[in-house]
């Protein structure tokens, strides 16, 4: 699925960009200012504008690819500090027994959503912490705590390159983002001059509730159609790990 989407987005982007630059009417689009000076009526000028459009499109596609590659590294570098901070705090909380405590309090919910996680495993605590951070809109804390949760879930995973049911459930709930209050949106509304910037809170809460319910149902329903999960008894699963599941491309 990811392979196909990756190919589709890239191929559509490149071909569409090429096609658009070929087809678009030079008069309608806005060519670079240098070329638009003498585009009145002569065919040679028209020809030049077409070339300009082509080269502009080529350049913008190239820049998009290169800039984004650079941005991704910058994002990761920026993440290092916050990651270190939150994983440090999280480690203290773990050593103090707080994470296990949280997991124990919320055990009924966790057991229902993530039946694969053993009792009192740190994965449960990390998941709860990430969800709490998401609900409160603490994006800076949510990512490190979520990655911590993934690491804990991975430690329970017999097939290290394949997602488990619990991981899928965790990410589906995470991306459907039950947010109690989305402060950033309210802040942007306020900045744009809204009379009542917070008026959207109720609608957001209702909408995210719907999407989270769909996320849970969809994950539960779909997981049996993607049966690369290991057998329930872990000792038999460990033997046949790597080569068995090639069906999900």
């Amino acid at each position: 699925m990811l392979n196909k989407i990756w190919f589709a987005l890239l191929a559509i982007g490149l071909l569409y960009g090429f096609g658009k630059a070929l087809v678009v009417d030079p008069g309608q689009s806005s060519p670079p200012p240098a070329a638009s000076a003498d585009e009145t009526s002569q065919p040679p000028a028209e020809q030049a504008t077409r070339t300009d459009i082509m080269s502009t499109m080529g350049r913008s596609l190239t820049n998009a690819a290169i800039d984004s590659a650079q941005t991704s590294v910058e994002l990761c570098i920026a993440l290092i500090g916050v990651m270190a901070l939150w994983l440090g705090i999280m480690k203290i909380a773990e050593d103090a027994g707080l994470v296990a405590l949280i997991a124990r309090v919320l055990r009924p919910v966790l057991r229902w959503l993530f039946p694969d996680i053993p009792r009192d495993h740190p994965a449960g605590g990390a998941i709860v912490m990430n969800m709490a951070a998401n609900m409160l809109g603490l994006d800076n804390a949510a990512t490190p705590l979520g990655l911590k949760a993934m690491k804990e879930l991975q430690s329970l995973n017999p097939r290290k390159n394949t997602a488990t049911n619990s991981m899928a459930m965790f990410l589906a709930i995470n991306t459907s983002s039950i947010s109690i209050v989305a402060f950033s949106v309210i802040a942007y509304r306020k900045a744009a001059g809204s009379i009542d910037p917070a008026s959207v809170v109720v609608a957001m809460l209702l909408a995210t509730t719907c999407s989270t319910i769909v996320a849970i149902i969809a994950t539960r329903t779909l997981q049996r159609f993607f049966p690369s999960s290991p057998p329930t008894t872990s000792d038999t699963g460990a033997a046949t790990t790597s080569t068995t599941s090639e069906e999900d491309a």
């Binding site: 103090a96 804390a141 995470n174 109690i180 959207v200 996320a215």
Partner: protein, 187 residues
Amino acid sequence: MSSLLELADLVSQWSIPGIILIVIVTAAFRRVPMYESFVTGAKEGFGIAIMIIPYLVAILMVIAVFRASGALEDTKAVLAVGLRWAGLEQHVQELELIPLALVRPLSGSGARGVMLDLFQHHGPDSFIGYAASVMQGSTETTFYILTVYFGSVGIKRIRHTLHACLLADVMGVIAAFVFASLLFRAV
């Protein structure tokens, strides 16, 4: 409503200092060697952040190229022609929301840009402004999150995760539009 929201904001602003305080007080009470624990945990952060880089480059590059091609913008124009043809003239303006719905799972900053653009052209208190706000607030940058989270532990075969997440996203967008229509469509 407003004062409740201020309270929520206050709780949110103080949650991080509060959590840190609770953690260190409990740790002190249980005699945990805090400094050492912190450093041990923080050390993991570096590895995880570096681990993500190849996955992030792969996904952000594709998204950037796709957006630069202008395919998203033109989808809107094609749909507008379709709606006019179907005689739903009065809904054509609402197609402004389509790029937002399409960009949202791909790019957080891109979606924010589209939303701010809609605020500028229609006003944050128009129906489109309301619907855009609800959409922005009730969905996530799914591809980014899946990439980072799975990348951090080196998982390449994600099974049904993307299907489920995209279904939830579609539901989120539809629900955002429906609830915005129910609550804010005064016209």
